[in-house]
Amino acid sequence: MGEHDITLTVNGEKHSLTVESRKLLVHALRDDLGLTGTNVGCESTLCGACTVHLDGDAVKSCTMFAVQADEADITTIEGLADETLHPVQASFEVEHGLQCGYCTPGMVMVATDLLSENPDPDDDEIREGIEGNLCRCTGYQNIVRAVETAAARMDDGAVEGD
């Protein structure tokens, strides 16, 4: 039982993989499926750069084995946009919520998760919501602004990419 055949539905597309038990989900996504938008930023489950949505919930894909995700529905950063950017992505652009961009996929994925549960978070709630994500560049200021802007845009019923 050291190797398993699994099925991952990622961004709407079904994939059949054979993976070692010990293969982390983040490595299956990046190396087996070529979805390198999800980043590995630490070894300690602290940084959140690996955040994806698993069956609708934000999770740290570095702290799961791919076998645990068998038959799950996964959304990675690549899966957020249609023809136009998701409002959260567009807001990060407009508010300059990034510098090097390494934490950004994880920040966008956790922000989207936060807003789906709390569509109108205040400053404290946003900062608490991104506690699982570390940024070494920005000091978080513009990240928080980006999430506020995204909340306002989504609340207005803005069409993606407006």
């Binding site: 039982m1 602290l46 955040t51 702290t63 076998v67």
Partner: protein, 298 residues
């Protein structure tokens, strides 16, 4: 970063888990639920089990149910799922508050209540909170099922009464007739998010008097502890008279200060000071909730 090889099994029932634990008794087996304590240790090389047995999909171990005198939580219920239950917040507000303080959003989507208690990290939030809540756990072993109160569960650092071939299946907290107020005050490590010190205070109030107080602390000693001196100072006091400062002042009473954890983050002396401060803060917060004048001030 890369765990050693292991065999992975997914168990569908508690019975199947018990059978597999017996079958693999000669190998190192770890139960896997949320994995957010276990997997980091496997990635860092601290742990290298031969077999991982995934119990996270066992229906009987998941979910919250409310009976007249108790709230039951399946052991593999995630923190996020627990937080959806108002009945849990009403019955055990300090425990509920501690669940809300665990880790971060992503961790709370995967980590489980049973895993937290069974792993018994000295800096985990739930052991102290389980003590405050007067929680009881169900443990299933080869000889059947037994119930263990939180007071008897935590034995030392990463050590509980759950045996190597046993499964913690359920956590329950009592529902009482008295009005219950409680909270969890935490000094989180800025890097790890674990509790440098965490204090859970639960007050049961009858006719304006604290009939029963239970106070649990995490992060101070090698496992969760009750702060009985603080409980004594609060019990039998009118909630209008109870003094948070007096509670904080006795937080260290009865604790062997030579055993207080000391590490790169905090000396034992600093942890002791944090315990006094966070006890005072927790008591102050609960009293503000419980006092009738707080309604007047609205």
């Amino acid at each position: 970063m890369f765990p050693d090889e292991f065999d992975y099994y997914r168990a569908n029932t508690v019975e199947e888990t018990r059978e597999l634990l017996t079958e693999f008794a000669d190998q190192e087996v770890e139960l896997l639920a949320g994995g957010h304590s276990l997997i980091p240790t496997m990635k860092s090389g601290l742990a290298s089990p031969d077999i991982l047995m995934d119990i996270s999909e066992i229906d009987a171990l998941s979910g919250v149910s409310v009976a007249e005198d108790v709230v039951r939580m399946g052991a593999v219920t995630s923190y996020a799922d627990l937080l959806e239950h108002g009945a849990l917040e009403a019955a055990a507000p300090a425990f509920y508050s501690a669940v809300d303080h665990v880790g971060d959003r992503q961790v709370r989507n995967r980590g489980t209540v049973g895993g937290n208690l069974a792993h018994a990290d000295p800096a985990a939030d739930l052991p102290g909170a389980a003590l405050a809540a007067d929680a009881t756990v169900t443990i299933v072993g080869q000889d059947g099922e037994r119930r263990v109160s939180a007071d008897d569960l935590f034995l030392g650092m990463y050590m509980t009464d759950v045996g190597p071939d046993e499964i913690l299946t359920e956590v329950t907290v009592p529902r009482v007739d008295a009005a219950v107020a409680g909270t969890y005050a935490k000094k989180a490590s800025p890097s790890s998010g674990y509790a440098m010190v965490g204090v859970a205070v639960r007050l049961e109030v009858v006719e304006g008097e604290i009939e029963r107080a239970r106070v649990g602390a995490s992060g101070v000693l090698d496992c969760g502890i009750r702060l009985e001196a603080v409980e004594d100072v609060l019990t039998g006091t009118a909630i209008t008279d109870a003094d948070p400062t007096a509670a904080g002042d006795v937080a260290l009473d009865g604790i062997d200060e030579t055993m207080i954890l000391s590490d790169a983050q905090a000396s034992a002396e600093f942890r002791g000071a944090l315990l006094e401060t966070y006890t005072e803060r927790a008591v102050a917060a609960v009293l503000e909730d419980a006092r009738p004048e707080s309604a007047v001030a609205d």
